[in-house]
Amino acid sequence: MAGIKVFGHAATISTRRVLIALHEKNLDFELVHVEIKDGEHKKEPFLSRNPFGLVPAFEDGDLKLFESRAITQYIAHKYENQGTNLLPADSKNVSQYAIMANGMQVEAHQFDPVATKLAWEQVIKLIYGLTTDQAVVAEEEAKLDKVLDAYEARLKEFKYMAGDTFTLTDLHHIPVIQYLLETPTKKLFTKRPRVNEWVTEITKRPASQKVLQ
């Protein structure tokens, strides 16, 4: 049995998105390390797995995939009956699924580009010996403020982003939030009561903690 393999780097946001999903499902897998600083992701054999040259890539038996949010959706559906349910509570209710899908797009379009820039400026650049551009941080924090206002309103109505239960929509946010909590940007989350509660909840989950080890 070929099993599940993830080709990626355990410290990256996108790889962690997939790892958290696998941990939530208690799935066994092999993490095949891709050495980003050596440009391994831009060369063969990795390029055959993801022609766009980004981590992660994924394999489950004969199925080969890339794009973290496609991978997590596959995991959520294929392994629906084990571990944490990452889909809405009522699997027969397609409308609930639509609301989750809506939230996943919001994360991808509104939250992630801004949050990733902030993580890049304040965390990842430092690892590469570059300096933070505070003007960019200020600009992106202003954008994040607006997004989090919408999130605060949403979370006043619902316990989690897509309803009463934890789903993929929440999970997709976790890796970049984990990085931002190590930076001054943390205050944007903690100053909003419901966002703060939600962030605390989703980052303390055992699966979320596992990727930090």
Binding site: P51, E67, A70, V94, Y97, G103, Q110, A153
Partner: protein
């Protein structure tokens, strides 16, 4: 039940939804939101779409926004009606999802600023960033190379059948092909991408959408 679509027939993201409805034979009504007048930023629309964008939909009690979520929902709900846009197995659906993500993260990410600089800024009399345009064209070519390779061995992006993976690209591709001259070099020079675009833009649902848009 007629689905209400708040948006503009000529705008790319609402077109993604309308095209899905036309492929699946789902009845809809477009309620015009005047983007030139920034109607999408006004309080009434913000109640439907808190980020001030189009489209938003209303289907009975269900309210949604984000075009790629909307088409995913309808493709799932009406899987057995009209064109099958998802594929019949989990594995096939995963490949469709993968290429929808690619459109989101690569094609749209490059095509949008390109179209803004090449089409919209001149239209509104704003200066366009020529250096940026050249940089974006280079990125766009690299993305199209990947597509060229994929479409050499696959009739459509996710395999043998037309799916959401192809559909989701069409509104953005239309801008590139019909409103800029970029298509002439970048797309027509790539045999497989060119073949793919010619085939999918010949579909009856697309032609119907073009009639409705009345460019």
């Amino acid at each position: 039940m007629v689905v209400k679509v708040y948006g503009q027939i000529k705008a790319a993201n609402p077109q993604r939804v309308l095209l899905c409805f036309l492929e699946k034979g789902i009845e809809f009504e477009v309620i015009h939101v005047d983007l030139d007048q920034l109607e999408q930023k006004k309080p009434e629309h913000l109640l439907r779409q808190p980020f001030g964008q189009v489209p938003a939909i209303e289907d009975g009690d269900l309210k949604l926004f984000e075009s790629r979520a909307i088409v995913r929902y309808y493709a799932t709900k009406y899987a057995d009606q009209g064109t099958d846009l998802l594929g019949k197995t989990l594995e096939k659906r995963a490949i469709v999802d993968q290429w929808v993500e690619v459109e989101n993260n690569y094609l749209y990410a490059v095509a949008l600023p390109l179209v803004i600089n090449v089409v919209f800024k001149p239209k509104f009399g704003e200066p366009c960033d020529v250096t940026l345009i050249e940089e974006l064209k280079v990125k766009f070519e690299k993305v199209l190379d990947v597509y060229e390779n994929r479409l050499a061995t696959n009739r459509y992006l996710a395999g043998d059948e037309f799916t959401l993976a192809d559909l989701t690209h069409m509104p953005g591709m239309r801008y590139i092909m019909n409103e800029t001259t970029l298509g002439d070099g970048l797309v027509t020079s790539r045999e497989n991408v060119n073949r793919w675009w010619n085939e999918i833009s010949a579909r009856p649902a697309w032609k119907k959408l073009m009639d409705l848009a009345a460019y």
